[in-house]
Symmetry: C2
Amino acid sequence: MSEQTDPAPGGDGTGGDWRPSREAVIDLLGLLALGELLAFERMAVDARLAPDLGRRARLGEAAVGEIRNYRLLADRLSALGVDPAEAMAPFQEAFRTFDAKTSPRDWLEALVKVYVGDAVGDDFFRAVAPKLESEDRALIERVLEEGSAAGLAADEIRAAVESDPAAAGRLSLWARRLIGEGINRALAVSAAHESLTGLISGDGGSVDELLRTLTRAHQERMRAVGLNN
Amino acid sequence: MSEQTDPAPGGDGTGGDWRPSREAVIDLLGLLALGELLAFERMAVDARLAPDLGRRARLGEAAVGEIRNYRLLADRLSALGVDPAEAMAPFQEAFRTFDAKTSPRDWLEALVKVYVGDAVGDDFFRAVAPKLESEDRALIERVLEEGSAAGLAADEIRAAVESDPAAAGRLSLWARRLIGEGINRALAVSAAHESLTGLISGDGGSVDELLRTLTRAHQERMRAVGLNN
């Protein structure tokens, strides 16, 4: 809370006079909003892969948190005078490509996708928050407060891997494919949107560095559910 | 509110000593809970047919009301000592058949399905509520309070039909197919679940009569958005 009256982004020793451009903030909020909207849809759709109605409903209910986050981000875009749909549109193709290449074939693959996507998403939110000014930082904190679906997925993955060790290899491979495709899409998005690259590197750091940090955290989480890298 | 302390279902002149069986109430709550859960999923899935991200998000957000209703009904089943998944399972095949035969090919067909399904669902809730005892009646009232997705769909359908009169014929035909398949499924469910037939007819009325009432209301709603029967 020490940053609440600080108009400049915290930064890490590079001085407090750097500020993200309006364009970069809109791009970032559009990217995050679309990510939340599509995570909602994906979870609702993939819930159909559940082996029983109880789990199916639980994944659907977990999806609600994502669309709530979408609403928070969309409202902020509207407050900035931007149509959320317009801010999201530039990123639609990247997500479409990602989803087309990572369509889960069964319930466990769907859960790994939720687990990886949700956690990497949260890490990304945490990494970009310090680059933003106080109002947007507060928004990101609210988004991160929303109960994560990753916990639900992690418990199931861990139990599945324990009861069927052969599943670990298959799901580890699947997680590598998810993260590989995710990195490809992230690089394509950052190459096409200089404003975002500027935001990420403007206050110290780089897109490559961010991807390495996200990947490292991802690898630790994989081990936490009994998968390997 | 006059019925709040009345332990017997209101009825309509047949006397107040008839009560639904526990089995019938569980069947009914299971049917309604599954209907809400699947309506949620269907809307989230069909949102992908939207012509733009703004409408896509609005349909996803409207779907949240359905899964909230699912939670209310599932909690009531749990309170009655029944696993919601078990109470829903007997009706899964009927919904699966219905959805397989009524998969929308475009955004307007998806909206007509939301409009018809949501409104017929609400009418069904209203029709069965008086058959229930006070606690379950109060639950149904809470379910009906949840903002309906039908309004959103109706506005879009009306606008589409006004701007393209040829759409009216196609969508009218589609709505007839939806209601025809719905009646088929309702008859199959009632034939397989005597408890439900008993609940519907136990206090006066019959399944046929209920279906006629629902169909009549449906036809009026069709006219309200510029479609014909």
